[in-house]
């Protein structure tokens, strides 16, 4: 018997994941700015308060430090909080509570207290959001010991990964690529956008399922090159590969920490070439870690230097967004370099 499925965009899939988990576990609570009655500025929590009540789905004061600090305390009590930070760009006031508290609570108390929270936050650009609605700060969190960082690229993955994150007993940062909430984006901002209803990964089971954290997915098998991507850049990368006609193996990392190193290593040893694409700024970005890992493990299999395609080391611009964005032009240039003999 196949599970019933329905067409969902990424917002609906994320909403469904929280709905499923709130139904299954009375300790799951959802909190954040505008998430209650209104249902969130992106509608991700729509309908949850009327279904589960104000004590489990509630609006919070506008203090990200308070939201995460309160979530730590709720976790210590025994709840399983799912706080929303309205934009990843607003997460910095909560850094101390995430980095020094949530991430280290299990360690510093030798397991007496844990912080089983899942921090949802829309991230990334491509929506003309300017520097305060476009950032990709995942590298800040992958650098911290004790937090997991998860980034989905499809509605199907978003639901399965979010359920796994909520069930996980460690704090998890769940960054939602808001550019692809409604449909996969191929990087051509001047062309019409596809909707998730036209994409197979928009077909999402209505009930419970999960995708194990720490498992990457090969979204396009290939022999000539390994491309490491996550979030929006999965689709931008895939489109650029097709346009260049290169038989690349595209790996959607899905979880940055813990990373699926085995899948990466096997692929690069097979292809002998590696390209990393992320939207975040370049210096000390997660691509630097990926590049180092591939070099350490696959050096003698590499036939060309590892290529990184990233955002520039500037604040995220507004009017020049598409000059900043690591889109088809930048990827095509990097493909030429990495495929050179």
């Amino acid at each position: 018997m196949t599970e019933p499925t329905t067409r969902m965009n990424m917002i609906q899939a994320i909403n469904s994941a929280m709905d499923v988990m709130m139904e299954r576990d009375p300790d799951v609570v959802v909190m954040g700015e505008d998430v209650g009655y209104f249902g969130g500025v992106f509608r991700a929590t729509a309908g949850l308060q009327s279904k589960y009540g104000k004590r489990r789905v509630f609006d919070t004061p506008i203090t990200e430090c308070g939201i995460i600090g309160v979530a730590v305390g709720m976790g210590a009590y025994g709840l399983r909080p799912v706080p929303e930070i309205q934009f990843a760009d607003y997460i910095y006031p909560a850094l101390d509570q995430l980095v020094s508290e949530a991430a280290r609570l299990r360690y510093r108390s030798a397991g007496e207290f844990i912080a089983p929270m899942t921090v949802r936050s829309p991230f990334g650009g491509g929506i003309f959001g300017g520097q305060t609605h476009s950032q990709s700060p995942e590298g800040i969190f992958t650098h911290v010991s004790g937090v997991k960082t998860v980034i989905p690229s499809t509605p199907y993955d978003a639901k399965g990964l979010l359920i796994a994150a909520i069930e996980d007993n460690d704090p998890t940062i769940f960054f939602e690529p808001k550019r692809i909430y409604n449909g996969p984006f191929d990087g051509h901002w001047d062309r019409p956008t596809q909707n998730w209803s036209q994409h197979p990964a928009g077909d999402v089971p209505t009930g419970y399922y999960k995708i194990e954290l720490g498992k990457a997915q090969i979204v396009r098998p290939g022999e000539a090159l390994t491309v490491l991507v996550y979030g929006t850049m999965v689709h931008v990368g895939l489109a650029a590969i097709e346009e260049a006609g290169i038989d690349a193996e595209v790996i959607d990392l899905r979880t940055l920490v813990p990373l699926d190193i085995a899948t990466i290593e096997a692929s690069v040893k097979k292809t002998g070439r590696c390209m990393i694409i992320h939207e975040a700024t370049r210096t000390s970005g997660f691509g630097a870690e990926l590049s180092a890992l591939v070099q350490e493990r696959c050096f003698y299999h590499l036939e060309a230097p590892i290529e990184r395609v990233t955002g520039f080391d500037t604040p995220y611009p507004h009017s020049l967004e598409w000059a900043y964005f690591p889109g088809p032009v930048r990827i095509a240039e990097a493909l030429k370099k990495v495929m050179r003999d």
């Binding site: 609570v29 004590r55 489990r56 919070t60 004061p61 203090t63 430090c65 308070g66 995460i68 600090g69 309160v70 979530a71 730590v72 305390g73 709720m74 976790g75 210590a76 009590y77 025994g78 709840l79 909080p81 006031p93 101390d96 509570q97 020094s100 508290e101 609570l105 299990r106 360690y107 510093r108 108390s109 030798a110 397991g111 007496e112 207290f113 844990i114 010991s145 004790g146 997991k148 996980d168 007993n169 460690d170 720490g214 920490v257 813990p258 990373l259 190193i261 085995a262």
Partner: protein, 428 residues
């Protein structure tokens, strides 16, 4: 930049930077510190609206008067047994502090923090709270654990980071975590525990529990954003939480003026948030007890949070790494107008005929011997840096519930390094 001043009719701006009254070598005179008589401050009903007693944020709840009698509406009318129990716990805290401070000076551990002069703040609070109310302490509330009867040996094991340390040597000495005593893991980062206490209290309320939360921070760290986030959250959701601000006048070398004390009281911070605020003589165990019991009743009856400023004095340095002689007058501790909390409670018990000098001296001796015995027992588990610590492998435990590959690799590397070095680390 204009070359010529354009507002020549005004004096230039001038930046005000606070300065404490007394520096090393200065004679100390605290007569300008207003100390109202005991018994003078009114006691509102616990169901009164916070806005109806904002005057209390500028007064001082005091119970013990100059003649060591318990007076006024805040007198908690405790039985002599409870008073003696509090006195003993305070004496134990002081003896524990002395012993562990000395242990640090003897090189047996890296760090220690005393709470001398502030024993009443934690011991009386712990006595007034239910034993399962959740405490979110800062690093100077060892009195909570001792008043709750927690094992001194266990605390010392943590201080020594030895093989008996339940925290596996992962935390700086005195950063205890004791779930079984409803005592939250101490962070060391300042006031992060405040919003956490609110979250715990909100969870307790959401679940229809009866337990409340209490948090402590110093006056200096009320400047942290977390403090204000916590006050906002607590006010908004009427969380069953007690905020204790231990105003001991000094944050390392920064006097309370750098947290705003020259302009207002710390209890008055509550007013802007619309939460109940009390200002209490922190060296008066009965006043601390009464205020805590009042705030606990308020919280437990869904009347919401209370902020209590405990007006006290940090008699010793900030920690074993601090020398207060470098920045404040040596005359301050003895000149402090609110006296010593242990001496005051002792004098009260004697005044009411429930204690005497002989019994006190015998108790001092008994407590000192008990602490010494505990120390000996703890030291049998090892002292810092002498090999008797948690097994090597534990360094990587507890980063995550399950160890991912990258930590396994690093753990293997560490074990290989240590095996090659020949150092005698125990293995699991």
């Amino acid at each position: 930049m204009a070359d010529e001043p354009t507002r020549t009719n005004l004096p230039p701006l001038s930046l005000y930077v606070p300065e404490p009254k007394f520096r090393p070598g200065d004679a100390v005179d605290f007569t300008s510190v207003p100390i109202p008589p005991a018994g003078e401050t009114r006691r509102p009903d616990t169901a009164d609206a916070a806005g109806d007693f904002t005057d209390l944020a500028y007064q001082l709840v005091r119970v013990l008067d100059e003649d060591h009698a318990a007076v006024g509406p805040w007198n908690p009318r405790l039985s002599p047994d409870v008073l003696r129990k509090m006195l003993r716990a305070m004496v134990e805290v002081r003896a524990f502090d002395e012993r562990m401070f000395r242990a640090q000076r003897q090189g047996k551990t890296s760090f220690y923090m005393k709470c001398t002069g502030e024993e009443a703040v934690s011991v009386a609070a712990a006595t007034a709270l239910a034993s399962d109310d959740m405490c979110f302490p800062s690093y100077r509330q060892q009195g909570l654990l001792i008043a709750r009867g927690w094992s001194m040996v266990d605390m010392m094991n943590q201080i020594y980071s030895n093989k008996g340390d339940r925290l596996q040597g992962k935390q700086l000495p005195i950063m205890y975590s004791v779930r079984d005593a409803s005592f939250f893991s101490i962070s060391g980062n300042l006031t992060t525990q405040y919003p956490q206490a609110v979250g715990w209290a909100m969870a307790s309320a959401a679940k229809g529990d009866t337990r409340i939360a209490a948090a402590w921070c110093g006056e200096g760290s009320t400047a942290e954003g977390d403090f204000h986030s916590a006050c906002t959250f607590a006010s908004v959701y009427r969380a069953p939480v007690i905020f204790n601000v231990v105003n001991n006048q000094w944050a390392i070398s920064s006097f309370s003026g750098f947290a705003g004390a020259e302009s207002t009281t710390f209890a008055a911070r509550a007013i802007g948030y619309g939460i109940a605020g009390l200002r209490v003589d922190g060296n008066d165990a009965l006043a601390v007890y009464a205020a805590t019991a009042w705030a606990a009743e308020r919280a437990r009856t869904n009347q919401g949070p209370t902020l209590i400023e405990h007006f006290t004095y940090r008699v010793e340095g900030h920690s074993t790494s601090d020398d207060p002689g470098q920045y404040r007058s040596a005359g301050e501790p003895s000149a402090w107008p609110l006296g010593d909390p242990v001496a005051r409670l002792k004098a009260h018990l004697i005044a009411i005929g429930e204690w005497d000098e002989e019994r006190h001296a015998a108790q001092d001796k008994d407590v000192a011997e008990g602490v010494k015995r505990a120390q000996k027992e703890a030291e049998a588990n090892g002292i810092l840096g002498h090999g008797l610590h948690q097994p090597l492998d534990t360094l990587f435990d507890g980063v995550f519930e399950e160890m991912p590959w990258h930590l396994r690799e690093q753990q293997a590397q560490m074990i290989a390094e240590e095996t090659a070095s020949g150092r005698p680390w125990a293995r699991k």
